[in-house]
């Protein structure tokens, strides 16, 4: 927006930005700096802070050359690769449905929201049943198509896909709300020209709707990459990293190193390795946005 750079504008900018920045500097940047310091130290959480020893890049080397790291990478990436496309499809799809009006619309909408507010504890119980190898709902449904379902959460290969299914179920309603808000912000007059030309639903969707909400879609992708690489709650409660370490992910490792083994230095180093990963992915996304994200009103 073009506003001349007067003192008034500068003052207003400062007023608008300052509260948020103070918060970010004090409660985000400072702790992050502290964790950067920790990452090059041998820091035992339970021992006094002055017993910290500088160890240079030892923590990083230990992690990157250990046999555990490739597995953690693999598991986290598996989660992301499975989760991202699914959540995009389901949340956009659900938002499109919620944007229509039909009988029972309000009730349907609230039902779509229930997974978001269901506690993970309750969700885990039901999902463990759904994904149960012998008695589970999913495998019973698969068997009607002649497929024998795997042992899901109790199998090393299928535990992560099982977690992805539960996570998609839980998060769809959350992200659908954001897409819906974007849909509601579309001026209906944008469709007038298309209606006159007789365009059908699919064309309107791909040529008008999606481009118009592409800023929000971009947000969704970036956020889900950032959060997906930091997946934690669902893994902890569904499998706790099991079976036999088959679903270990970055956050689960970081938490256990920090609070079960008290190795705060190692945990901090792990977070910074994760940070580098997330940064790379996000930077790529921002680069790519010029190609497909449309900010014109």
């Amino acid at each position: 927006m073009y506003i001349p750079n007067t003192a008034g504008k500068r003052r207003a900018t400062a007023v608008f930005l300052l509260p948020s920045m103070i918060g970010v500097v004090v409660f985000c940047l400072l702790p992050i700096l502290a964790s950067a310091v920790f990452s090059v130290m041998d820091y035992d959480l339970l021992m006094p802070m002055n017993t910290m020893k500088y160890v240079g890049f030892n923590n990083f080397a230990r992690i990157l050359t250990g046999s555990e790291f490739p597995k953690v990478l693999g598991h986290t990436f598996t989660y992301l690769i499975l989760y991202l496309p699914l959540i995009l499809i389901t949340s956009v799809g659900q938002a499109l449905i919620l944007n229509k009006s039909f009988k029972g619309h309000g009730l349907f909408r609230t039902i779509c929201y229930t997974p978001v507010i269901t506690s993970w504890v309750a969700a885990a119980v039901v999902w463990q049943w759904v994904l149960s190898g012998k008695y589970g709902l999913l495998n019973q449904m698969l068997s009607t198509f002649g497929i024998t379902g795997p042992a899901w959460l109790n199998s090393k290969e299928w535990a992560m896909p099982g977690i992805v299914l539960a996570a998609v179920w839980k998060d769809t309603g959350y992200y659908a709300l954001m897409v819906l808000a974007a849909l509601k912000s579309i001026d209906p007059s944008c469709y007038e020209a298309a209606d006159i030309d007789g365009a059908n639903g699919l064309r309107k969707l791909t040529r008008i709707t999606l481009p118009l909400i592409s800023p929000t879609l971009f947000l969704l992708i970036v956020i889900n990459i950032i959060y997906g690489l930091q997946v934690f709650d669902s893994v902890l409660i569904m499998t706790n990293g099991g079976p036999g370490g088959a679903t270990t992910v970055f956050l689960e490792r970081i938490y256990k190193y920090a609070f079960k083994q008290y190795k705060m230095g190692l945990a901090s180093a792990y977070s910074w390795i994760l940070f580098a990963l997330i940064l790379i992915f996000t930077a790529i996304q921002f680069r790519l946005q010029r190609k497909w994200v449309n900010y014109d009103a």
Partner: protein, 281 residues
């Protein structure tokens, strides 16, 4: 004839649509249904094969025990949670929308880099920043205070990102013409920008409220006085005690949902109103 050709097609499409809705509903609501149903089960077995959807002997015992919890007052902790959630939401939404306005419409030299910094703060997990944050609060003397819980809400990178994306789609023309007419930036922000992003703003209010209402680990660590405890912490303490009385845990889980549902219903009405341009066209 045209009408007869189209009508059956519409009928099939309509039925398919409703069929799809029903499938979605079933997939979506099962765990929630289990949660509610279990809250009404008494001392009968909660986890059975196959899952029992309707309690054998429905009882309010779970709810009674939640209300009469030893040591903690359900009413008091709910009130604490409510006050905290409202305060945190106002602080979080306020600071984030204002900052988003700058990043989307009032860029200055280096603002892009600062926004990048905001994004970067989301990339470090809270697990390792928890101890430094605790030390910061301790240094500021804010342990065991509500201020200590509310102030960190100023740092809301996710909210800034969400609102920025939404604001970037707003046509500058409206605001530039208002500026030329002599409106201050503050007026432009409140009277033009905010109404135009009302759907996303309402959604963010809901998400912030939910985040604060459900927050557990941080209040657990920061608060020590029992009369300041929030509802989630109090219910969390129940976890160890009621491990084999899951109907009580589920009753607690159901009760915590209610305020969120209320906020949800209210904010979604604002989302539905869409943009209200009024006479701007």
């Amino acid at each position: 004839m045209m009408r007869n050709a189209i009508a059956p097609r519409k009928f099939i499409r309509g039925t398919l649509f409703y069929l799809m809705l029903i499938v979605i509903i079933l997939c979506t609501i099962l765990p929630f249904a289990w949660m509610v149903s279990s809250s009404f089960k008494g001392s009968e077995a909660i986890r059975t094969i196959p899952i029992r959807w309707i309690p054998e002997r429905p009882t309010l015992e779970g709810y009674e025990r939640v209300f009469n919890m030893q040591g903690f007052s359900f009413a008091r902790s709910s009130l604490n949670s409510l006050i905290l959630a409202i305060a945190c939401t106002i602080v979080a939404v306020g600071s984030a929308t204002m900052a988003a306005f700058v990043f989307s419409k009032l860029p200055f030299k280096g603002s892009g880099k600062i926004f990048g910094l905001y994004l970067a703060t989301m990339m470090i997990p809270g697990t390792v920043t928890m101890v430094p944050n605790y030390i910061i609060l301790r240094t500021l003397g804010l342990l065991d205070t509500y201020t200590g819980l509310i102030l960190p809400s100023l740092a809301n990178a996710f909210g800034v990102f969400l609102m920025r994306q939404s604001m970037m789609s707003v046509n500058d023309a409206y605001m530039e013409s208002a500026y030329l007419d002599g409106a201050s930036l503050y007026r432009i922000f409140f009277q033009i920008m905010l109404p135009m992003v009302m759907p996303t703003l309402s959604t963010m209010i809901l998400l912030s409220f939910m985040g604060s209402w459900n927050s557990y680990l941080w209040p657990l660590i920061v608060l020590t006085s029992t009369d300041k405890q929030t509802l989630q912490v109090v219910l969390g303490n129940m976890n160890g005690m009621y491990k084999n009385n899951e109907h009580v845990l589920m009753a607690g889980a159901v009760l915590t949902i209610l305020p969120i549902l209320v906020v949800y219903l209210v904010t979604q009405r604002y989302v539905d109103q869409g943009i209200s341009l009024g006479g701007l066209k």
